[in-house]
Symmetry: C2
Subunit: 226 residues, 2 copies
């Protein structure tokens, strides 16, 4: 059996990784505003490095959609309008819905019991209101569903999109009742899975994701972000 997440193996963080993470953070937090030109030499100076790792970092950011490269014309921060973020959330919601539908029909009894265990374990976390722990659980919960689709490519895509959305975790929605509602929605999804009703699980998952997105939209609009 392959474990699933194996690349936690970054012993010594590579330079371009540090630069990429730093830039990703600055873009996500809005420090670098949309459309801003990213000069390679300038960034190299800022990070005390050469242009080489900066270039590599920028290309990776481009692959993640955070920046846009124009051949021979430099790199600019991708403009992340609220509309685009909502598009991303909708896409993520649809993909999650797709995953849970396939997972419902394909998961093994072992995978099902594992998911139930995970879900049960989240109750005390909600009770305590531990946001970080819930975030970790939530990720594991959703990734367990991806895995249960028995489609590794789809699982990777789902993880990638989740990762891209993670960039906006600064609006982490640390609201008490959202934690409660989130778990209640998980509960409903679990029930549909238990009944083997993939379509219902799918609809509930979509609603679950869109609820989170709506909460984020409110946050975005309140903070005049974008």
């Amino acid at each position: 059996m392959t474990d699933g997440l194996d690349n936690a193996a970054e012993d010594r963080e590579l330079l371009f990784d540090r630069i990429r993470n730093a830039l990703a953070d600055e873009i996500a937090t809005g420090k670098l505003e949309a459309g801003a030109a990213l000069d390679e030499q300038q960034l190299a100076d800022r990070f005390g490095a050469s242009r080489t790792p900066v270039r590599e970092a920028l290309r990776q950011l481009a692959a993640n959609g955070l920046v846009e490269v124009r051949a021979r014309r430099g790199v600019v921060v991708a403009r992340m309008t609220p509309e685009r973020i909502m598009d991303m959330f909708e896409t993520a919601a649809e993909i999650e819905a797709m995953c849970v539908r396939l997972a419902t029909y394909r998961m093994t009894p072992l995978e099902r019991s594992h998911l139930i265990e995970l879900h049960d374990a989240s109750e005390p976390i909600v009770k305590k209101g531990d946001f970080d722990a819930y975030d970790t659980f939530n990720r594991a919960f959703h990734e367990a569903i991806y895995h249960a689709t028995h489609n590794s490519f789809l699982a990777e895509e789902a993880i990638a999109i989740r990762h891209r959305l993670m960039a906006f975790r600064r609006a982490q929605l640390q609201q008490e009742e959202r934690l409660d509602r989130s778990r209640a929605e998980h509960e409903a999804i679990m029930q549909a899975i238990a009944e083997g009703d993939g379509e219902m699980a799918s609809r509930r998952m979509r609603a679950h994701m869109l609820n989170a997105a709506t909460a984020l939209r409110r946050f975005i609009e309140a903070n005049k972000f974008g």
Copy 2:
């Protein structure tokens, strides 16, 4: 023979683009077998270039999933088993199904008439049995649907996945009756769209994609590919 896999927006082709395309082709055609180590200096010599553009090409291939990079341990050709290719096709089918469902509910009358025009124009192409022309049309047809979702992020993702699958176009299924069937399936999808039945359009699109995948699977198994 294998041209136009990228957008024609690049005036003068950059060196790393040429290298990337060449490598992508060699990987797709199986010239470079799965698991093979890709030495940067070696490739640089082969292309008469330096390591710099080779590195960039390899990173882009990694972003497209054709190779795998292990930090400080080089790059290897991703192992593309038939199972993985089928996973990719299933994912593509599900995403296409998702797109056509959303498009059915959201497309404007203008977009609808454009799609009808496209579909009508494909009839003489099928009659003539012009595979290249049908390929071009097919792409336009599907991309029109992506666009009609009015979700630009989703549209980009769909295009990206279609692009990744394009790597396996060597099994281009140049079979007369497949062309006919493909258009007939489009016809059925169009009808569901016309009736405003997104769910039915979705199911038919999924079937359409999976038919193509099944045809490919037969080809793969017949050719002992993998």
